[in-house]
């Protein structure tokens, strides 16, 4: 099966990117190097092609009621032009996907899905939409998506594209490359910045324009280290249909009183507590934890690493693991079994990396 390519594929080749298969797409994992790209986002501005992510438009008189039914957060809190993070849960409270919902109009929303879950999300949304006067439309082909992130990202994007950008967690309808587009004050790096949903036909010239303005092309490798340092969970690693939002530390985006699909299970998990909790940790000395490494406490099995990497900012191995709930406290000493070698680690608090003020 051949992988899909984004409208920026030729641009990635031109930059000498290392391309890898990811969720059915051929995506750049790095251009010059993960550390350089990571550091560019922390200190200046980096740009990611995230056109593999899916977009779904929800429109109709009952759009709000429908989303309130399927999304974990309280969607009534989102004003027009607002953005909100949610989980999409199954009836057992398992996390099918995590996503941002943007309110485009009084009865029109856009949600951005993870590439690997897009098709399944569409099926799920389609199924639940039957009870509502609403249209669920796959609009993934209408958008290329660029995430421009870093302390200088907004200034460069606003200046280069001549547009006014929305505040954090807001969305603005703008024109980019002469076409209608959305600029969103969201991201996945822990830095300020924007995500741009643009017409695929103008993606390449806009990409080049922003590169010429000094943003650093950055790949999925840096995107992963950046999000892990600030403990944003990744679906497929840290989130899955077998885990509920409470054990994943996402109780803050669940409003069980709205009666969303899975709310009862989530309420139960919140009330009763969960056997395990997702916790961030850092290695105390040598060693780099990786997904799947067992966790030990007092030499007893204590959990499993769901994301692990070298942290370019902290220059040490870091990760997130599902740990026995009593161990998931900041400061707890644990060990990570990294391919047979036990590496001393300590549970931390979110985020693991915080910018000095």
């Amino acid at each position: 099966v051949s992988e899909r390519r984004t409208p920026l594929y030729e641009r990635h080749l031109a930059l000498g990117a290392k391309l890898v298969p990811f969720a059915g797409w051929e995506m750049p994992v790095l251009y010059e190097g993960i550390r350089e790209e990571h550091s560019a986002v922390r200190t200046h501005a980096g740009m990611f092609d995230v056109s593999h992510m899916g977009e779904v438009e929800i429109e109709g008189p009952e759009a709000l009621a429908f989303l309130q039914r399927v999304l974990s957060n309280d969607v009534t809190a989102v004003e027009i032009g607002g953005a909100q993070y949610s989980c999409l849960c199954n009836e057992e409270g398992g996390v099918l996907d995590d996503l941002f919902a943007y309110r485009l109009g009084s009865d029109r929303y856009l949600i951005v899905t993870n590439a690997a879950n897009h098709a399944a999300d569409l099926d799920w949304l389609g199924r639940w939409s039957r009870d509502f006067d609403v249209l669920v439309r796959d609009v993934a082909d209408r958008y290329a998506m660029l995430a421009v992130q870093g302390p200088h990202a907004r200034r460069i994007v606003a200046g280069t594209l001549g547009i006014e950008l929305p505040a954090r967690m807001r969305l603005a309808t703008v024109r980019i490359g002469g076409r209608p587009a959305f600029a969103c004050g969201t991201g996945y790096t822990g830095e300020d910045g924007v995500e741009l949903l643009i017409d695929p036909e103008v993606a390449a010239p806009i990409w080049v324009e922003l590169l010429d303005a000094g943003v650093v092309p950055s790949g999925l490798g840096a995107r992963d280290t950046l999000r892990l340092e600030v403990c944003f969970p990744l679906h497929g690693n840290d989130l899955s249909p077998d885990r509920n939002p409470i054990e994943a530390g996402l109780g803050w985006c669940c409003a069980e009183e709205t009666g969303f699909v899975g709310a009862e299970a989530v309420a139960r998990a919140r009330a009763e507590g969960t056997a395990e909790k997702l916790a961030p940790f850092r290695i105390e000395g040598a060693g780099i934890p990786r997904q799947g490494n067992p966790v030990l406490a007092n030499s007893e099995p204590a959990g499993i690493v769901t994301s692990g990497s070298f942290s370019p900012s902290l220059e040490v191995g870091i990760g997130m693991a599902y740990l026995r709930a009593d161990l998931a406290e900041s400061g707890t000493e644990i060990e990570i079994d990294v391919r047979g070698k036990r590496r001393a680690a300590r549970v931390g608090s979110k985020p693991l990396y915080e910018k000095e003020r």
């Binding site: 290392k18 994992v29 790095l30 190097g33 993960i34 550390r35 490798g221 992963d224 280290t225 040598a286 060693g287 780099i288 990786r290 990497s309 070298f310 370019p312 191995g317 391919r339 070698k341």
Partner: protein
């Protein structure tokens, strides 16, 4: 910074798993990873060396070297006993990218089977092997 151009010095012997050996005298050799190996791996951030005195076996892993995203076993091109490890590389693992044949060396070994050298490739053969892979 990485060494941008693929280079394979003539004075080294190469193992198909992208490791090199530099013979020193009759029974010693220095081991490291090739330009191709470090380029595929990306920025090296961690080197876990064997202990001095450890035995290394031809074609078997003797150390691990990791980039941000990946772990790679390092394969011994020849058999022997570790007499020295590059401790400086533990502190500055990026040397494996910057200078894979110099400061990026991994271990020095007292060879138990010096004749194993005959099975290794010279630079031209190794280059050909890369072209055909």
């Amino acid at each position: 910074m990485t060494l941008a151009e693929a280079t394979y010095p003539e004075d080294l012997l190469y193992h198909p798993e992208h490791d090199w050996a530099r013979l020193e005298g009759d029974d010693q050799a220095v081991f490291g990873i090739t330009w191709y190996a470090q380029d595929s791996l990306g920025e090296v951030v961690f080197y876990d060396p064997p202990e001095v005195g450890a035995t290394v076996d031809k074609d078997s892993s003797y150390a691990e070297i990791e980039s941000v995203k990946a772990v790679s076993d390092v394969i011994a091109p020849m058999s022997g006993e570790v007499v020295e490890v590059n401790d400086a590389l533990v502190d500055n693992p990026e040397k494996a990218n910057e200078d894979p044949y110099g400061d990026g060396w991994l271990i020095k070994v007292r060879l138990t089977q010096p004749s194993e050298a005959e099975a290794l490739h010279d630079a031209a053969e190794y280059r050909k092997l890369l072209e055909n892979s």
